[in-house]
């Protein structure tokens, strides 16, 4: 479904990504692991069309979409749930959902909103209050709901559990799994490796701008590659 | 040469007074304060100087000095009042201030001559005098543009938080820019008025803000030299493009728009970039090698 190969991205003088390859498919969760600053966010943003890659290719649904602008990528069926959620705080919950459905046919919007409310009942309760009043976890739910409004085939997620309390992390990630089970492809960057691994099908490890390891979640859970990637050599010494 | 000078003496003097006015707007902008109070200062300075001459019978220079001092104080006080505003809100407040000055002049009765303004305040000013004053002003500005002072002012404008973290008192700098802008604007107003012998409320208007602003932006907002280039361009442009005659204003609009699109740092910015590129060509070559290794 999504095939990213040998992506190179730089902004200004910074060469943030040099050689990232990833893939994702329908109904599966692909987890991208790596230390901070490894280039995960930049890769996701380049795939979603927010940055023009220097080289490499992004193929989605059999078409080359390398360098296609973000607002067009959405229409193809791929949507990014950005790092830090990026909710439109002054707008109400429902307005946030409506803007998510900007590319969807007019007639289907009310129905889609109801679907989102069904999935995340907490949003229905707060539908008319400004999104800025929601808690972190609720905002993440809203970010998911907003992305779902465009009826995506593939969702890119950038650290959905960031800054959330542990119990909330569980809830957020289990809803990710639910979405995948409904047939949506998920490509997720997540720092909480353990929690991420529990719901992931496949894993890619990115380190200092390149993909260094790929495999199944099962293999990853066992291997030391993950710990190494996240915390470095020293963390393994005593283990 | 002297023929040329006497033919163009008014244009030359106008260039210099326009430069002063433009500087009074440029100074706060260089400090990161979007204030147009300099034009209000122009009005205060002009009226004060004319009143001192006409009503008090003062001579030229004490009148100009009084205008500069009073406008400096008034604009500084305004700064105390509005300094927490930012961006265009600051712009709006200071434009309001300027227009209120104009209304005060209309309603000033005998003192300001009402709508007709004051006339007959012809001072003894020649180009040499203006140049001397300008030299002092420019010397002060050069001091604020170079060395440590220039660095600190750039920081206050570009990144107030960084300025704070390296120990710069941002508020103090901003207030100083108000006072400086007031004094320079007051000088511009006083000198312009006493050169022409008249001042009316209609002059202290939004149009003057636009003249000053376009001069700075087209010339270059970062240095007095940019304001100078802008003043030269806009004062001399009409005579240079007089072959377009009635379409002069169209050409003017076109030039301003093109400058806004293609010259983000004005004419001076382009020149400076070229000089910089020329002067640092060796360093840039070294850098390339350095980065190659890295």
């Amino acid at each position: 479904m999504l095939e990213v190969s040998d992506l190179h991205v730089s902004y200004g003088p910074v060469r943030a990504v040099h050689g990232v390859s990833l893939s994702a498919s329908a109904g599966r969760v692909t987890l991208v692991l790596g230390a901070n600053g490894a280039g995960k966010t930049t890769s996701l943003r380049a795939i979603a069309g927010f940055h023009k890659p220097d080289s490499g290719s992004v193929r989605f649904d059999g078409r080359d979409i390398t360098g296609t602008a973000a607002h067009k990528v959405v229409r193809r069926g791929m949507v990014l749930v950005p790092e830090g959620r990026k909710i439109f705080l002054p707008l109400t919950v429902e307005e946030n959902l409506r803007i998510g459905g900007y590319t969807a046919p007019r007639g289907s919007i009310e129905h889609s909103i109801d679907e989102v409310y069904e999935k995340f009942p907490i949003l229905a309760e707060r539908r008319h209050s400004p999104a800025g009043l929601l808690s972190g976890g609720e905002q993440q739910m809203l970010a998911f709901g907003r992305a779902l409004m465009s009826k995506p085939k593939l969702m890119l997620m950038d650290e959905p559990s960031m800054g959330l309390a542990p119990t909330m992390v569980e809830r957020v990630l289990s809803s990710v799994r639910t979405m995948a089970d409904a047939g949506i492809g998920i490509l997720m960057v997540e720092q909480n490796a353990e929690a991420g691994l529990r719901i992931a099908d496949t894993v890619a490890v990115v380190s200092r701008g390149e993909t260094v390891w790929t495999g199944t979640a099962l293999e990853a859970r066992d291997g030391k590659a993950i710990v190494h990637a996240m915390l470095g050599e020293a963390a393994l010494d005593g283990a | 040469m002297s023929d040329w000078y006497s033919m163009n003496v008014v244009l030359i003097q106008t260039t210099l007074t326009t430069l002063l006015l433009a500087l009074s707007i440029q100074v706060p902008i260089r400090f990161g304060v979007f204030s147009f109070a300099g034009v209000g200062a122009f009005g205060i300075g002009g009226y004060t100087a004319a009143i001192a001459m006409v009503h008090l019978g003062w001579t030229t220079w004490p009148s100009v000095a009084l205008g500069a001092v009073i406008s400096g104080i008034v604009v500084f006080a305004l700064g105390l009042l509005v300094q927490r505003l930012t961006g265009l809100y600051m712009g709006m407040a200071t434009i309001a201030f300027t227009l209120i000055i104009s209304v005060l002049a209309v309603n000033g009765g005998e003192l300001t001559g009402g709508a007709g303004g004051l006339y007959g305040a012809l001072g003894e000013i020649d180009t040499g005098h203006i140049l001397a004053i300008l030299a002092v002003v420019v010397a002060v500005l050069v001091w604020t543009e170079t060395k440590g002072m220039g660095r600190r002012i750039d920081t206050v404008r570009e990144d107030p938080e960084l300025a704070n973290s390296v120990g710069i008192d941002v508020v103090k700098y901003r207030l100083a820019s108000f006072a400086l802008s007031g004094v320079i604007g007051g000088l511009a107003g006083g000198i312009t008025t006493l050169l022409r012998s008249t001042i009316t409320p209609a002059e202290v208007n939004f149009h003057l803000v636009i003249v000053a602003l376009t001069a700075i932006i087209v010339g270059g907002a970062r240095s007095w030299l940019g304001a100078f280039i802008g003043a030269v361009i806009f004062v001399w442009l009409p005579t240079m493009i007089s072959f377009v005659q009635e379409w002069e204003k169209v050409v003017y609009g076109f030039i301003v728009a093109v400058a806004a699109i293609y010259l983000p740092n004005g004419v001076l910015g382009v020149v400076k970039d070229l000089i910089h590129r020329f002067r640092t060509r060796q360093e840039r070559a070294r850098l390339a090698v350095l980065q190659e290794k890295g």
Binding site: F50, A69, A70, H71, V74, R75, L80, P82, K86, F88, L89, L91, E95, R98, I99, G100, Y102, T103, R106, R146, S150 | L81, V82, L85, T86, G87, L88, Y89, M92, A93, I95, A96, F97, L99, I100, S102, V103, L104, V106, N107, F206, I210, L213, T214, I217, V218, E246, K249, V250, Y252, G253, F254, I255, V256, A257, A259, A260, I261, Y262, P264
Partner: protein
């Protein structure tokens, strides 16, 4: 009571003019200084057309609306879009758009001044204003149209921005343009459409005001520009409802001053009011703090 009607009429004039400006400034962050020139030139083209053939009311309005939309669209395409593309950050873009607008505005102004020799111009139309008398209150049909149009468009636009898909998208852009793009909003296209809409509103205002006032002069647009600027700041940038209220508040304040027979203090009062609002509540009457994007 009659005074209230006058306030409604004056406020509607201000409102019609300010709405387009408020729309682009409050959503896509463009403070368009060519708005006044767009307004004037739309009416001017209406004048040219009607001096050839006499047209009915609606036809004149339609011409002006189309011309207004075309001018604004061209301004966006040829000036503002290139500036946005070339600017490092929002702050730099803001300044350059301001200057670019000033440049663009000079062109239609010069053309109209040249053609009319700066004398006032109006329309030759089959439409003749009549005076309605209801309960001893007098109101011309044109005033009635202006009031109804002002209120209807003001409220309509407020509702549109609040409720419609595109209005929502505009507000989203105002909050976070990049994330909005991630939702599928084509910012460039939407900005273009918004500018054209604002231009159409300027054209509408131009036609209605010329009918209402009988004639306008080429410079009329510039005078309204400052008032509109004030109204938007007064009401709160980004809030269409604020603009509606701001227009009537300003008209009310001005009428009050007039009725107290301090006609020459009108500007001082309106700008004094704005000054106070800025000091007490910089985000305006209905503005939100976060909307500020400078």
């Amino acid at each position: 009571m009659q005074d209230l009607l006058n306030v409604a009429s004056l406020g509607s004039i201000y409102l019609l003019f300010a709405l387009g400006m408020a729309l682009v400034w409050g959503t896509i962050g463009i403070l368009n200084f060519a708005h006044g020139a767009t307004f004037m030139f739309s009416a001017f083209v209406g004048h040219l057309v009607t001096s050839e053939t006499e047209l009915p009311f609606l036809a004149v309005v339609l011409v002006a609306v189309l011309v207004g939309a075309a001018i604004a669209a061209l301004t966006q395409l040829l000036a503002f879009q290139p500036i946005l593309k070339r600017s490092k950050n929002q702050h730099a873009a803001e300044m350059r758009i301001l200057i670019g607008g000033i440049g663009v505005a000079a062109i239609p102004l010069a053309i109209a001044q040249h053609q009319t020799r700066s004398s006032p111009f109006g329309f030759r139309s089959s439409y003749e204003a009549e005076v309605l008398e209801i309960f001893g209150l007098r109101l011309s049909t044109t005033s009635a149209v202006v009031i109804v149009a002002g209120l209807a468009i003001g409220i309509g636009l407020t509702v549109w921005v609040r409720r419609s898909r595109r209005g929502l998208a505009l507000r989203a852009i105002g909050v976070d343009a990049e994330t909005a793009a991630g939702m599928g909003v084509n910012r460039t296209l939407l900005a273009f459409g918004t500018m054209a809409t604002a231009g159409a509103l300027a054209g509408l205002a131009g036609a209605l005001l010329t009918f209402q006032l009988g004639a306008i002069a080429p410079e009329t647009g510039d005078q309204l520009l400052i008032k509109a600027f004030a109204i938007i700041v007064l009401g709160g940038l980004g809030s269409m409802a604020g603009t509606v209220i701001g227009a009537y508040v300003l008209a009310g304040a001005e009428t009050l001053v007039l009725n107290l027979n301090y006609g020459t203090w009108v500007d001082a009062v309106s700008f004094g009011l704005i000054f106070l609002i800025l000091l007490a509540r910089p985000q305006g009457l209905l503005g939100r703090k976060e909307v500020r994007r400078t």
